[in-house]
């Protein structure tokens, strides 16, 4: 006896389903629960290759099988059934969900690491999802109509064809995931708070609220799938990104080490010092008030080197061919104010153009 669904059985079943597609979805599910095992048993009895033709020889074509079942069950005939509603809207709603899940996953994965402009990208790709929400929550599109789309059925068949222990394992993760995703999103909030603009906090906050507030609803009301699934995908993306970060730090890849210079709460990778004549000092050594060297990590083409207090440290640049170069020298010039010829110790000379930034100009 085969435990996996035979492709021929799956195809026969799909065609039978299609021929009965006008029936209520719940009744159709019941029928499939009955005849799925039946077809598997017939397939097991077939000599040689199991094909749709071989099954049809025993049972008639899927369409004949469906017609016989329909007659015996006393369902209305397909012709007298109300015409099937257009599949265009359910299809749109389904693919809007798929797209938004993928985008949310991608935002989770990339948005945190790269601190890209997640707001505008997210909003742009959310527009179809917003439209889907309107359609599904005002009842224009029933979740069952979406579930009955051929592509949705095909997707479900793929999931159902997974070995039972895989599905069981994923199910067993559910309670843990309930907690993990909240922790993950909270971690993401902290990470973003430390690095990127506050605007990027928007998505994790939305996802967090959605998952805590609406997550339980999706179990009983399938419409909430359209809200909860993208939020979950976002959390999965962030979880993978955080895992990747942790792994990268553990194996010592090019992520920056945890040291550096922090002045007024900002972290600096490099310090440039200029003399009163506006000329850069190419070799200065930094110490704090206790004589302890103030060090920054030294970037290099082969990864980070030991931190040093000798400033400025070289920069890493990539040329047009993508080749890495280590560059010394100052990426900008400054004009030292000449009004006060002898700056006092309390007056810090302010560079006028351009303001030095932590990122060397490209």
């Amino acid at each position: 006896m085969n435990t996996r669904t035979d492709p021929a059985v799956a195809e026969y079943l799909a065609r039978t389903r299609a021929a009965l597609a006008d029936l209520p979805a719940a009744e159709l599910e019941e029928i499939v629960e009955d005849i799925g095992p039946h077809l598997s048993e017939i397939a097991a009895e077939v000599d040689g290759d199991v094909t749709v033709d071989a099954l049809s020889e025993r049972l008639g074509t899927p369409e004949q099988y469906a017609a016989e079942l329909r007659a015996a069950a006393g369902y209305p005939s397909a012709e007298s059934a109300p015409p099937r509603r257009s599949t265009a809207l359910p299809r749109f709603v389904l693919w809007a969900l798929v797209l938004s899940v993928l985008v949310a996953f991608g935002l989770g994965l990339a948005g945190i690491v790269r601190a890209i402009d997640a707001i505008s990208i997210g909003l742009l790709f959310s527009l179809p999802l917003f439209a889907a929400w309107i359609l599904i929550f005002n009842g224009r599109v029933a979740p069952s109509a979406v579930a009955d789309l051929p592509e949705a059925l095909a997707g479900r068949r793929v999931v159902e064809s997974l070995p039972d222990n895989v599905i069981g394992y994923l199910r067993s993760l559910r309670p843990a995931w309930w907690l993990i995703r909240i922790v993950v999103l909270a971690l993401a909030l902290l990470a973003i708070f430390g690095h990127a603009g506050a605007a990027n906090l928007l998505w994790p906050i939305i996802a967090l609220v959605v998952l805590i507030w609406f997550g339980p609803k999706a179990r009983t009301d399938r419409r909430w799938t359209w809200v909860v699934a993208p939020a979950n995908a976002f959390a999965v993306g962030i979880a993978l990104a955080l895992l990747g970060l942790g792994w990268a730090n553990a194996v010592g890849s090019p992520y920056r080490p945890q040291s550096g210079v922090i002045i007024e709460g900002r972290q600096f990778d490099n310090v440039y010092v200029f003399g009163p004549d506006g000329k850069p000092l190419t070799e200065v050594y930094l110490y704090d008030e206790n004589g302890i060297p103030i060090t920054v990590p030294v970037p290099g083409c082969n990864g980070w080197r030991e931190p040093t207090n000798k400033m400025p440290v070289p920069r890493v640049e990539f040329d047009m061919q993508g080749m890495c170069r280590e560059v010394t020298g100052v990426p900008f010039t400054v004009a030292i104010p000449t009004a006060s010829t002898a700056p006092t110790t309390t007056t810090v000379p302010t560079p006028t153009t351009p303001p030095p930034t932590t990122t060397p100009g490209k």
Binding site: T3, E30, D34, P37, A71, A72
Partner: protein
């Protein structure tokens, strides 16, 4: 006058399949293929696979059957059907109707022969 000759057993079966399915479920619950096999073993060779499944659904929707899924370690999970009180009542009534109908037919055919 139109004759379809010989009388197909499957034509006759259509009218009594409900009764036959109820009868094979009287002693023990069964899943679809099980019911099908019991019918065939009892001599109803002509019964169509899909007809049995359709009949099970009709009887279930009419409230004559209960159903429950039995997980199986190997092979697909099976949905069992069984008679409930309503089903047993229906079986008793249908059996009575059938017997009187069969008697009528017997005497009719006896007279014709």
């Amino acid at each position: 006058m139109r004759h379809s000759w010989p009388v197909e057993i499957s034509q006759l079966l259509k009218g009594v399949l409900d009764l036959a399915v109820l009868a094979v479920l009287r002693d023990a619950d069964g899943y679809g293929y099980d019911v099908l096999r019991r019918l065939r073993q009892a001599g109803l060779e002509e019964v169509g696979d899909a007809s049995v499944y359709g009949t099970l659904r009709r009887l279930y929707n009419a409230g004559a059957l209960t159903s429950y899924v039995v997980p199986s370690e190997e092979g697909p999970h099976r949905k069992y059907y069984g008679l409930n009180d309503n089903g047993r009542e229906r079986l008793a009534e249908s059996a009575k109707t059938w017997r009187s109908f069969a008697d009528t037919m017997d005497s009719l055919l006896g007279a014709a022969a």
